[in-house]
Amino acid sequence: MAVFRSSIRIDSAACAAQWSLILAIACWSIAASERTGEAIFKKDCISCHGSAGEGTKKAPHPLVGEKSPAQLAHVISKTMPEDEPGTCTGEDALKVAAYLHDAFYSPDARARLQPPHVELARLTIKQYRNSVADILAGFTKPTKSDDRQGLHGEYFDARGFGATGGRPNKALIDRLDAVVQFDFGTNSPAGPEQPAMALRVAYSGPAARQFFLFDVASGFGAPRGVFPNKIEERKFNPKQFCASWEGSIFAPETGTYEVIVRADDGVAVWVNDINYKQPIIDAAVRSDGDTTQLHGTVFLLAGRMYSIRMELCKGKELDRKKLDSCLVDSKHSFVELQWKMPHGEVEVIPARYLSPNRVPEVAIVNTPFPPDDRSYGWERGTTVSKEWNAAETNAALEVAGYVAERLQSLSGVAIDAPDAKTKLRVFAANFVQRAFRRPLADAEKKLFVDRQFESALDLEQAIKRVVLITLTSPRFLYPNVMDGQYGVASRLSYALWDAPPDSTLLDAAAANRLKTREELVAQAERMQTSLLARAKLHEFLMTWLRTERFSELSKDAKRFPEFNAGIAADLRRSLELFIDDVVWSENSDFRQLLLSDELFLNDRLAAFYGIESKKDAAFSRVKWESEKRAGVLTHPFMLTGLAYPAESSPIHRGVFVVRGLLGMTLLPPPDAVAPLPPELHPNLTTRERVTVQTKPDACFQCHGMINGFGFTLENFDAVGRFREKEHDKTIDVSGDYETRDGMLVSFVGARQLATLLAGNEQVHAAFAQQLFHHLVKQPVRSFGLTTPQKLRESFAQSNFSVRELMVEIAVMAAQHNSTEASADPKKAAQADVKR
């Protein structure tokens, strides 16, 4: 497959021949022996690029990038110098390329010139919110949980709920409901006409999917069916009954969740509110003509379970005319519990996000923060601003209020108890300790606890002051100002979870056990099973695939009339299921992300792509056009996102491969270029149009690489459907790529491209490096110039296990003793900071 470039490209060979004369003149003005790369650079390149490639007015972009010397030499020989391209080729091009590559161009050269170091970093917003949630979670009793799905449903033959006051009322039906989606009709939930709702929907309704399909990548483990456990034969009063559903919901992403209930009976819903203080849907009282769609919103953090309770109360007959007759039919009753996840569409909350287990409340900071710096491609906390300081202070005030409001349940101390002061001091010291992720020194206890208690007017004020000063302290906000075993623990947990260490990890630190690599790996593997780790890895994979840019996907209504927001949301879900399925499968093989010939489709997507499927089928794994498709490259969500509303976009797809998969930087186009309108070139295929447009030399530097990848995916249109032809022309899906050692590799179609990429070291290295940045939030070379190399090698040794790579990186971060401060125990603050 691989051949030398000059032997295959007839046109470029011809050009080279033409230019060879000019080349001779340019390079020969230096004596052959003195024609070092440096000399050529100084003579021919400095005037535009500057003496160290820093750029000038003529060529403002610094000469930096990820190309290999061979790849650089090719660009030079084809396009440089700009006024006389073709005058520096062959040996000379190689020499000058090698020189600038090692002098300043390559990442390693840059790191050598300006060694990156691990910077002091504050908590990112995500880390801040997780830290507060976990500090306070430490004061609530953990609840037992199992892997059942669905919600605990209780049905009462009278008004009122046993669980929430009123007169005690025994549940006549007590069962697990996979989803809340019932049409009771005019019957009771247990009437003979409708013996058991769950059974009924098990065989007919959309909820049926929960019973027959295995569970995919949900974080809850094995598949399981849900059946009503016990139904009392006693007949309910169909005109008046109540039902409640209780348990917890899983939030896979951080963001605002909309909860929607469809019902016209009395309804109330509480989320993350175990004392039922503030229902997010409060419609226990219904007036005729009200909407049957009740909305509530709640902000949730990714990777956690939240308590949920819904109550439904069917009131008496509402039919005015028939009211006085005791023989009237009961009114029609129905209920559906739906949600709209961030990036999602309205759907009945699937069973795999529901659990009948009760969970404690999660303390969620709602204070808005200015977004974290993402200029390097990952969120990092290495800058502070006035707005951040204000937000962080307001958040501390919010938490102080939260703690004061729940003081008794968190501390177990009644504020008016005789020994409250002593006990609350203990509580306060625990709070500070959890916030600082380590035991307190005496000086710290004095400042953060004793002093606040001594100068406050009352105990509530004292607690609020403790919370305020603790959460605004650099000891909380900058977790890497820490040394020793507790520093190791913090670095490990923030890398894996973006959250502080749990008690098991802190215990290991206290016992001085976080010293060996084995122990750290064992801890990391344990921690990796947590939902927080799953959420973080999931978030990374979506970042790696750059799906953030695909939000609000919409397509040309004429070309794709069946495309809508529901399809877009399903496509996203399909991709998410796929990537989670791969990385949490036994081998966790990275290459399967590129090579897999399976994907997940539900009934809606199957219909959209013209595949047969069962009605109301949930997502399941299918082989679909497996000889043509390959992993994420041809996943319809990617293809749809990397396209225009009506047309495909080989450029977007090619850029994704270059930037995302090969991890290379691309300069922006020299001028803002609008794509050639397809209607002006009705006879050209998309490939032909793009070729015409990117022909100029100025474009070639990047498009030489971009187009070669993007064209191979041209068999897929703007919604990811397979096509052979465009405008009655057979589409050319051949492409090529010049490897780092200067070999030209050709391939045809998506599968060949995927095979090439899956086996490519640069792809492996880029993935490992991006994962490092996402987990550690520091430049990879700040851990040493050879870190990228080490990561790639260990990735390869593990047969490209994504999970093992994650552990490797987290352990690396934990072991990396970064700041000088922590290295120098004599420094002043260490008296307080260090144990």
Partner: protein
């Protein structure tokens, strides 16, 4: 003041601003059209005991009865109205309608809440007069206040239904009263208190930042120094904000939990906060709701162990009436305490005291507990806020309470021609008030 005259003026298009002058309202209203007028709606539940509530004599020469005796110091400022009836019918039992139609004057929507009798119902179909007046005042920059209205409660149950809500921001939009004085305090002064707590830790924080800074590399120190500079800026801004805050933050008794037995302390705290809110001009409209319609407070501090609602079903029985009289007397004491606090507080930036510019309206969802009648709903008005002629007991002949609600709005110069169900408003505002 005759109805026909008002209608006549209405047809002439005489605007609200001109009304006090044309209509010969009370001297207080005339003295300063721009004075800060206020109104307080105060609710106690389950009807009263007619024999120990209603005075025997009408007009100016009436004697305060046993229940009303706490109002003795303010008798000349008190106006008692008999014969005002809640004529709103429709869905919902008397308690539900009594409560949710009391300030709205309009039917409940058919709904899903079944009472002790009658058809099930939902929320009231319209907004309540306190919210109507609030909206009117908030429209005008001269009368606009920070909150517009504040809804206080004492021992209101933790459930929202037509028995527990009397203030409505609109159809189907009940307003939840705040029955926790600490929550109300935080609503009013939370920011100020937070800022105080914050200022108190800033010095320590600055020290802490210095300590940590000295322990890190110079490069890292830059970040912490930047952080410290923001903390200093915040400190300066806080000091400036506190210097310009002016109004003093009150202190309330700490640690009073929501508990039946703490009702007297909660009541006092809420009234004190309300007076503070008026002093600071945070609002000119307030309501104070004791428990709820069918509320079952056990007034052990009066030696009564049974719940209020249960006792009220036996009204007419001498033993029950004795307890009910005591209970209502206690509610009247709360009204009197509010009047006292207002009367002893000079009007900020104005003349006289705050009671001169405030009208307290004390009412109930029922006329009487056993019969559950909505006739003869007790309305007791204290103070000079709306310019009514006080020191009288007036008996009307079964007038719709919608007309009284309209009169309240008119007292603010908001000349509504109907409020709630227009069928009960045909005769316009109540006569004899001014």
């Amino acid at each position: 003041m005759s109805q026909s005259r008002r209608e006549f003026l209405g047809k002439l298009g005489v605007g609200a601003a001109a009304l006090p002058f044309v209509m010969n309202l009370s001297s207080v209203a005339r003295a300063d059209a721009r004075r800060k007028q206020r109104v307080v709606f105060l609710f106690s539940p389950n009807g009263i005991v007619p024999s120990t509530f209603w005075p025997k004599e009408t007009g100016e020469n009436f004697k305060l009865t046993e229940i009303l005796s706490p109002l003795e110091p303010y008798k000349s400022k008190t106006l008692i109205l008999n014969g005002v009836c809640d004529k709103v019918r429709g869905d919902g039992d008397s308690h539900m309608r009594g409560m949710s139609c009391l300030l709205t004057g309009i039917e409940l929507a058919p709904g899903n809440i079944q009472g002790g009798s009658d058809h099930p119902a939902g929320w009231a179909k319209g907004l309540s007069i306190d919210q109507e007046i609030k909206n009117f005042l908030q429209k005008d920059p001269a009368t606009r206040t920070r909150f517009g209205s504040l809804e206080f409660g004492v021992m209101v149950p933790e459930r929202a239904d037509p028995w527990t809500r009397w203030s409505y921001a609109g159809p189907n939009k009940p307003v939840t009263p705040i029955d926790d004085p600490y929550q109300m305090f935080n609503k009013m002064y939370g920011r100020a208190k937070d800022q105080k707590a914050l200022s108190s830790v800033l010095d320590d924080l600055t020290e802490d930042l210095k300590k940590i800074s000295s322990a890190v590399t110079p490069a890292d120190r830059k970040l912490l120094e930047e952080h410290a500079s923001f903390v200093r800026e915040m400190e300066i801004e806080l000091k400036e904000a506190q210097a310009s805050a002016g109004h003093r933050v009150p202190t309330i008794e700490p640690g009073v939990r929501k508990d039946n037995d703490n009702m007297p302390q909660i009541s006092k705290a809420q009234i004190d906060l309300m007076v503070n809110a008026f002093q600071a001009d945070f609002t000119r409209v307030a309501s104070l709701q004791y428990t709820n319609s069918v509320g079952g407070a056990r007034m052990k501090w009066l030696g009564i162990n049974e719940g209020h609602h249960a006792i009220s079903h036996n009204s007419g029985d001498p033993v029950a009436d004795k307890d009910l009289t005591k209970i209502n007397h206690w509610f009247c004491q709360q009204v009197a305490y509010l009047a006292k606090r207002l009367a002893e507080t000079p009007e900020p930036g104005g003349e006289g005291n705050m009671l001169d510019n405030t009208t307290i309206l004390w009412t109930n969802e029922l006329g009487e507990g056993k019969s559950h009648t909505l006739d003869n709903i007790p309305f007791v008005l204290i103070g000079g806020g709306l310019g009514f002629k006080t020191g009288r007991y007036i008996k009307y002949e079964k007038v719709a309470h919608n007309r009284l609600l309209m009169s309240l709005a008119h007292g603010f110069g908001h000349t509504l021609t109907a409020f709630g169900n227009p069928n009960f408003c045909g005769d316009g505002v109540l006569g004899q008030l001014a």
